[in-house]
């Protein structure tokens, strides 16, 4: 069985500042993928970033980047220059070749002026 743990139920960041959301996971598979999804109040789940486990280079998408520590089974999301539109629920998601997607419990991010 695979698990995903997001230990921060809520986080807050000021506009233009940087925030890091934590995620740890466990899997017995050697080939797997990790994602961060964002769910704003509109409810639509939007892909933020994707990481392939066999790639050592951390994925980056504009202001979003990850710190992927494979040995520690850690996959944190860094949001730089936070904007009001970044306020949402963020889910860390794990999938392997032999297993279905596993969602974390989510971290609610508030962005303040």
């Amino acid at each position: 069985a695979q698990t995903v743990t997001q230990s921060q139920p809520e986080m807050s960041v000021q506009e233009a500042e940087t925030v890091t959301l934590s995620c740890t996971y466990d899997t017995s598979e050697s080939d797997y993928y990790l994602f961060w999804y964002k769910q704003p109040p509109s409810r639509q789940m939007i892909l933020v970033i994707r990481q392939e486990a066999y790639k050592q280079q951390n994925a980056t998408e504009n202001r979003f980047s990850v710190n992927f520590q494979k040995a520690a089974k850690s996959f944190s999301l860094k949001i730089s220059d936070s904007q009001l539109g970044d306020a949402a629920m963020y889910f860390c998601v794990l999938t392997g070749t032999a297993s279905k997607l596993t969602f974390g419990t989510g971290t609610r991010l508030q962005v303040t002026l």
Binding site: D31, Y33, F35, Y37, S42, R43, Q44, M45, I46, L47, R50, E52, F91, T95, G96, T97, K100, L101, F103, G104, T105, G106
Partner: protein, 114 residues
């Protein structure tokens, strides 16, 4: 590219009534998922289709929930009879075939059972 379409956006029913949700995935996406998301929680997979075949329905309450994807394109999810605990957002997602393909989600249907 058109996204995943879901309808209705909202639905309010009384317990013991029936309800159906519709989903049209992104064109060319062979895999379709239905998730149930209770307020404050992460999505829970109800059923996964690969084309018109069921890949995983282990968490689908089969005594009251049913889903079909007859032509391998759009899909319907039905609840009959509904219970109060079925109040949730029902999310449909689709993806290309292959492990690691990201899911594309629809806007979801918020169901309230009174």
């Amino acid at each position: 590219e058109a996204g995943v379409a879901q309808s209705p956006r909202y639905k309010i029913i009384e317990k013991r009534q029936s309800v159906a949700f519709w989903c049209n995935p992104i064109s060319g996406h062979a895999t379709l998922y239905w998730y149930q998301q209770i307020l404050g929680q992460g999505p829970k997979l109800l059923i996964q289709f690969q084309n018109n075949g069921v890949v995983d329905d282990s968490q689908l309450p089969k005594d009251r929930f049913s889903a079909e994807r007859l032509k391998g394109v759009d899909s319907t999810l039905k609840i009959q009879p509904a219970k109060l605990e079925d109040s949730a957002v029902y999310l449909c997602a689709s993806s290309l075939t292959g492990v690691g393909s990201p899911l594309h989600f629809g806007n979801g249907t918020r169901l309230t059972v009174t």
